[in-house]
């Protein structure tokens, strides 16, 4: 599907989607937090979409409002690409997103990485532990307000 087809197809299926600007590289869509899992199931299981390959999962710190997760999806059948944004609530205390690790098993590791470095809690993840850092590490280093005076060189 082309970009416009994709956009109109998704709009007809799900309500409350916000699409990014026309100029972006790939079609970008922001999904409300509570609709994430349904939306992902739709993307993966719909015959016309067949987004079966999640090639990237990125956690972003939208300082100072909220944290976000960016999913890059591709269909190995049709080769169209979709970028899905989802945002958490308040950056200080409401930082959970539903997991997609059962839909896309590759997200299992990526979500652990995001939890480790950005502190996003993925609800329903079967094994949410720190991946890179030690278990007793304090804080999440990729956040914008993370301070470590001993080890960080700030320009």
């Amino acid at each position: 599907m082309t970009r416009t087809e994709l956009q109109s197809f998704l709009t007809s299926k799900v309500e409350g989607l916000e699409f990014g600007e026309e100029t972006t590289q790939y079609l970008t869509v922001t999904v409300p937090r509570e609709k994430l899992r349904d939306f992902m199931f739709l993307l993966k299981d719909t015959e016309e979409l067949a987004f079966d390959y999640m090639f990237s999962l990125t956690a972003v710190d939208w300082f100072p409002k909220y944290l976000g997760v960016v999913y890059h999806l591709e269909s190995t059948k049709y080769r169209h690409i979709l970028v899905v944004h989802v945002n958490t609530g308040n950056r200080e205390d409401d930082i959970s997103v539903d997991t997609v690790s059962d839909i896309y098993p590759t997200a299992h590791f990526h979500e652990r990485e995001a939890y480790d470095l950005m502190g996003i809690v993925f609800e329903g993840h079967s094994d949410l532990r720190r991946l890179f850092l030690t278990d007793d590490w304090v804080g999440h280093p990729l956040r914008k307000d993370y301070v470590d005076e001993a080890n960080m060189i700030v320009k």
Partner: protein
């Protein structure tokens, strides 16, 4: 006897083995916590971070030209391709069209890097299976590539040849002849590789039927590169989303349907031939022209998100830049092939023996700094 018909009714004690962080088969500092019953693996739990250098965090304070130099240290065997990924992302974001000469040289260099990486992988694979001589064969040939790199770039491994907008400097006058000499030599050396390992009955027995990845699993776990093509998935970024000069050359995407370790092995062996074909097509036709275009001293990307895929020796490397219009990116993410490939390790090595785990890890071709970043 296959590993599946072991009498599971026997009451035996499971125990934990720490494989790594210092282990010869980890090729770096990967730590696997194995739950084993005798020699049979029940669970593999990778524990990462022993060589984590926070490159993504460092990117957030550096300028785009500085970031290129950090990427050498990701997958140090594909350093040129990593550089290229960042450069392409920045160039696309700025709308810069680089000269054809740059594209051709970048492609040749990338394929040389891929050859060198596959050679090293082949040698190490042999060593993991127990054939020590393979390592020396591989290094004999890899040395020639490193010499070519050294002559043109000045460095052998972490090359830093790409900059946003082109290349650091032009190729050495003897570059073409040396590359052609190497290709001529390696076309004779590659059959030696096959004689030593690929056709060896012990080697085949060790790999065939070991670490089977089904097509569906490979896609679901995000496996890419030769590891996925061994399961018959067409995922070559060079074909699907061509960059640099890959749309100007003809080459085959190697696909083998089997999905076990030996198929992954054969994909890489055949990919080496394809790389040589690509170089053959380009090396005599490098167009005249500039080797870089002028870019501003301090690059500032327009606000937005940019993603660039490239095919490294291990699979699909993604560079994801979120820019807020300043001199440094707001968020810089590397989608490293090794990280996704590692996630399937637990699934495919259950029920196999410790010796098989080593073979599987070798056939997935991990580079630990690529996983840890």
């Amino acid at each position: 006897m296959t590993t599946t018909d072991v009498n599971t009714n026997l009451k035996t004690q499971e125990y934990l083995i720490n494989m790594g962080p210092q282990h010869p088969a980890a090729h770096g500092v990967l730590r696997l916590i194995l739950t084993v019953d005798g020699e049979i693996i029940h669970k593999v739990d990778p524990d990462l971070g022993y060589i984590h250098r926070s490159i993504e965090k460092m990117c957030e304070r550096d300028t785009y030209k500085q970031i290129v130099h950090l990427t050498d240290r990701l997958d140090y065997l594909s350093s040129h391709i990593n550089n290229e990924a960042v450069c392409l992302a920045v160039e696309n974001a700025l709308g810069i069209e680089v000269p054809d000469r740059v594209k051709y040289i970048r492609t040749i260099m990338a394929e040389l890097t891929r050859l060198a990486s596959h050679q090293l992988w082949w040698g190490v694979m042999g060593m993991d299976i127990g054939a020590l001589t393979a390592f020396m064969y591989a290094f004999r040939d890899r040395e020639m590539i490193n010499d070519i790199m050294e002559e043109t770039v000045g460095a052998r491994l972490t090359m830093n040849y790409n900059i946003p907008g082109g290349l650091m400097f032009d190729i050495h006058p003897g570059f073409q002849k040396k590359v052609k000499d190497f290709i001529k030599h390696f076309r004779k050396a590659l059959p030696e590789y096959n004689t030593l390992l690929s056709d060896n009955i012990i080697f085949k027995k060790r790999l065939q039927g070991i670490g089977y990845i089904s097509k569906e699993d490979a896609i679901a776990y995000g496996v890419s590169g030769p590891s996925a093509r061994g399961s018959g998935i067409s995922c070559d970024v060079r074909k699907i989303h061509p960059y640099s000069a890959y749309d100007k050359v003809e080459f085959n995407e190697i696909l083998i349907e089997g999905g076990d370790s030996y198929d992954r092995y054969m994909v890489r062996m055949k990919e080496m031939e394809e790389s040589m074909n690509i170089i053959d097509q380009l090396i005599d036709n490098i167009p005249e022209g500039d080797f870089q275009v002028k870019t501003p001293a301090l690059i500032k990307l327009p606000k937005g998100e940019y993603y660039q895929k490239v095919e490294t020796a291990r699979g699909e490397l993604g560079v994801f830049i979120i820019s807020d219009g300043k001199k440094s990116p707001y968020r810089f993410k590397f989608r490293s092939p090794g990280f996704s490939n590692l996630s399937i390790l637990d699934k495919i090595s259950r029920g196999h023996k410790i010796a098989d785990l080593v073979a599987i890890m070798s056939s997935l071709d991990f580079v630990i700094p690529d996983i840890d970043r």
